[in-house]
């Protein structure tokens, strides 16, 4: 039974990170916007939903909707001034924006739900949706189903956009501004829309995460999280959604399986932990070496 619960936990996390990968893939893989501050949307979504549910006592679904809107809005705000930047400049600027968001929630401790809360104290006791009517032992299964539902929704919406004319314009913008401009495409508008859509879905992921952990604080949103999501979409194969999901699973597996491997190695914990991180690093490198375009190549749209 325990193994099953662990598996369910894994899958819940995989779904949450899956939504993150899909949304990043939409921005970065399809739209070519190398967003290195994706964790900012994750963070804003998490806090928005938390505060709405805990302070305004709205329903979980309204909280998630709020997360969706707030993260989208933030994406809109940062993409307006930065939309003219070139890819690498953009990457570092977004990395900075992500850190600023984290610093904001770290330093502004008035954003809280009571005593000893907010800032680095974090916020505790975030309610789980429908917890009162679902028995504890099947709750994880229920939450798994819930996250799967949101993952499916994200997949459906993004996939439809990617496969249609919208995605085609994005792929053109990814490489060069002038050509789409000459064909009458408002590239800035497309960029902003892409950021907003991707950001909004990442916000959902944030909401889903914290309503499960029932706790949130700024240390959930260090830059490393963005890097991990990047590794997920690269390993799976950037530019296509199936790849992003497979990559999510693989990186998650890397992180977990190395935990189990070590149970069978008679090495000192200190060294072991180093070795575990080394092997995660090396595995990412190896996957990139042998599968340069990821496990699943970007699908050519055939007609």
């Amino acid at each position: 039974m325990g193994v099953l619960y662990f598996f369910v936990y894994l899958m819940i996390m995989a779904n949450v990170y899956g939504i993150l990968s899909l949304s990043l893939n939409f921005q970065a893989g399809v739209g070519g916007m190398s967003n290195f501050g994706h964790v900012a949307f994750f963070c804003i979504g998490a806090y928005t939903s938390t505060l709405l549910v805990m302070l305004c006592h709205v329903h979980f679904l309204v909280g998630i909707l709020g997360a969706f809107i707030a993260s989208g809005l933030f994406a809109f705000l940062i993409s307006i001034p930065t939309r003219r930047l070139k890819a690498d400049y953009w990457a570092i600027t977004t990395l900075g924006a992500g850190e600023i968001v984290r610093l904001f929630f770290l330093n502004e401790s008035w954003i809280s739900t009571g005593h000893y809360s907010g800032g680095p104290f974090g916020i505790r006791g975030i309610p789980r949706p429908w917890e009162s009517i679902i028995p504890g032992n099947i709750y994880p299964f229920f939450y798994l189903f819930l996250t799967l539902l949101f993952l499916g929704l994200t997949y459906f919406i993004l996939q439809r956009l990617i496969n249609g004319p919208f995605g085609r314009v994005l792929k053109a913008i990814r490489e060069d501004d002038d050509l789409p401009l000459s064909l009458g495409k408002n590239i800035h508008e497309f960029r902003v829309k892409t950021m907003v859509i991707g950001g909004a879905f990442a916000g959902i992921a944030g909401g889903l995460l914290v309503h499960y952990t029932t706790y949130v604080d700024p240390f959930f949103f260090m830059p490393m999280e963005t890097f991990i999501v990047w590794a997920m979409i690269m390993v799976g194969g950037i530019g296509n959604n199936r790849g992003a999901l497979i990559g999510t699973l693989i990186i998650q597996l890397l992180y977990y399986s190395t935990r189990f491997l070590k149970d069978y190695l008679p090495i000192e914990a200190q060294l072991l932990a180093s070795l575990r991180m080394i092997s995660i690093g090396i595995l990412i490198v190896v996957v990139m070496l042998f599968l340069q375009e990821g496990l699943v190549k970007e699908k050519k749209r055939l007609y």
Binding site: G164, P165, K171, K193, Y303
Partner: protein
């Protein structure tokens, strides 16, 4: 249809355009020739909104298009090609062509979910058109090939294919046949003539291949060192001493 009046542009100390004027009538094919570096491409960049001009006036269908973004000008019915062919490497030939179609509902986010059926129908229509164009530019065989893998001449052909697909009111073509093999060039010349005749479209073409210019153009503008040298029908231009000296004959004029 397109009127350019006294346009100036300099890059630092270099005067690329020094008072250029020209006009293109609806339904005609105008040529733009001149020695290398005479400012032809710069003029295209200014008309299509990619560069800002220093002075002058440009009107499209009587409306001023000063300071508009390139994409707005394109939406007003003026589409240009680039001298150095652009071919998004990770889009297939067909995707490249489909990209160019105008007024695509599917580019609106919400319509994708509100009107999926209409979008599907429109896509199908565009697809058929794209296949026809691929046939014309001899790329049908490569329709699912990435544009980045095309040969130099094919990239040029693809550029032409895209404007055909975009089907604007006025085409600005920057050396459309440079690098295209001569046999195919002749076919393309016929295609352009057909479009003009059947659809009453307007063209402004830069070309160094005089065969194309003589065959196609109703009116040829000659640019030298950023200003108009002369303009006239091909027969006249062919005989114009000044043009011969500055552009056509092989003396050390540049």
């Amino acid at each position: 249809m397109l009127v350019v009046e006294d346009v100036h542009k300099s890059f630092g100390a270099i005067k690329a355009l020094d008072g250029v004027s020209l006009s293109v009538e609806q339904g005609t094919i105008a040529g733009l020739i001149g020695p290398n570096g005479s400012g032809k491409t710069t003029l295209f960049n200014i008309i299509s909104g990619f560069y800002e001009k220093d002075a002058g006036n440009i009107r499209l269908n009587g409306k001023s298009i000063d300071g508009l973004d390139p994409f707005r000008i394109a939406r007003m019915g003026l589409v240009r090609t680039f001298q150095v062919a652009k071919a998004p490497a990770k889009l297939t030939i067909l995707e490249n062509l489909l990209l160019a179609a105008k007024n695509q509902m599917g580019e609106k986010v919400l319509d994708n979910f509100l009107k999926p059926r209409e979008i599907f129908r429109k896509e199908k229509e565009n697809l058929n058109k794209a296949l026809d164009i691929a046939e014309i530019i001899k790329l049908k065989r490569f329709k699912n090939e990435y544009a980045g893998n095309l040969s130099g001449g094919q990239k040029k052909l693809l550029s032409l294919g895209r404007v055909l697909m975009a089907n604007p009111d006025i085409f600005l073509l920057d050396e459309p046949t440079a690098g295209v093999n001569p046999v195919l060039t002749l076919e393309l010349v016929d295609v352009i003539v057909d479009i003009r005749k059947n659809l009453n479209k307007t063209f402004l073409i830069i070309e160094h291949d005089m065969n194309v210019i003589w065959h196609l153009c109703d009116l040829v503008n000659v640019l030298v060192a950023g200003s108009n040298l002369t303009k006239g029908r091909p027969e006249e231009i062919q005989k114009d001493e000044r043009v011969l000296e500055a552009y056509l004959s092989g003396s050390k004029s540049t």
